[in-house]
Amino acid sequence: MAIAIMLITGIAGAGMYVMKLRADNATLKANQFKLETAITEQNKVLEQQKEDFTAILESNKKLNVLINTFKKDLQDLDKRFTKKNRDIGKLAIDRTKSIERIINKGGKNAARCIELASGAEHTEEELKATLKSEINPECPALANPNYVSFQ
């Protein structure tokens, strides 16, 4: 009788042990899956970070180019007033009408530059301009993207 009870108890114990092993196995499998998912997600995050850094660098580069263009535009503007010891006041006294015409044309060009800077569309004429005589000298980089200065 005792042996029979021991046998039953033993079988039951073994059964329970197998069940425990299976449960442990399932837990381990679940953990493994979670780990693999975490690694995949981490890789995705790293990849995204890499793309973000590239995009940020590219954007910085573009803005730096723009800032340098601004500096050059301001220098060109100063040059137009002071080139070869030019005195715009004296010139205006000597050649009033022609300077008035130049100033008005410059004002018109400067106003167009502001329109373009605020997001206005380029005209076909502005886009086609490749010669110095065709460009808007107040802001060539902005107004005439196809013009290449050889200075």
Binding site: T9, M19, E100, A110, I114, L116, A117
Partner: protein, 121 residues
Amino acid sequence: MYHFNKIFAIAMIVFLTGCSIGGEKKIKIFSVEKPREKLNYDMPTPLQMEEIQWIIITSENAQEVFKKLEEAGIDPVLFGITDKDFQVLARNFAQIRQKLQETNNLLEEYKKYYEDTENSQ
């Protein structure tokens, strides 16, 4: 009888602890990621500048200029700046234009970075 109690006790322990082997049911938690709504503002409307007429006035042509203004029915008064101040005004305008362009470009870059890619959260 003594052995039977012993075996019975052991069997009971095995059976009772065995209940915990299957483990308890767990609540599953899902997290669904919903992307943030896009702001989608339109870009600012481009400016439309009005034209201004510059008149150069010197000691020699002053009378002629005022006469022409009167003839055209315009008040014979001019708001003047010197040649140096004109240069400053041109520079100031150029700087305002550049700031406008820079701000617009920044806006476009932000839009591109946060909305074009999957960076938007």
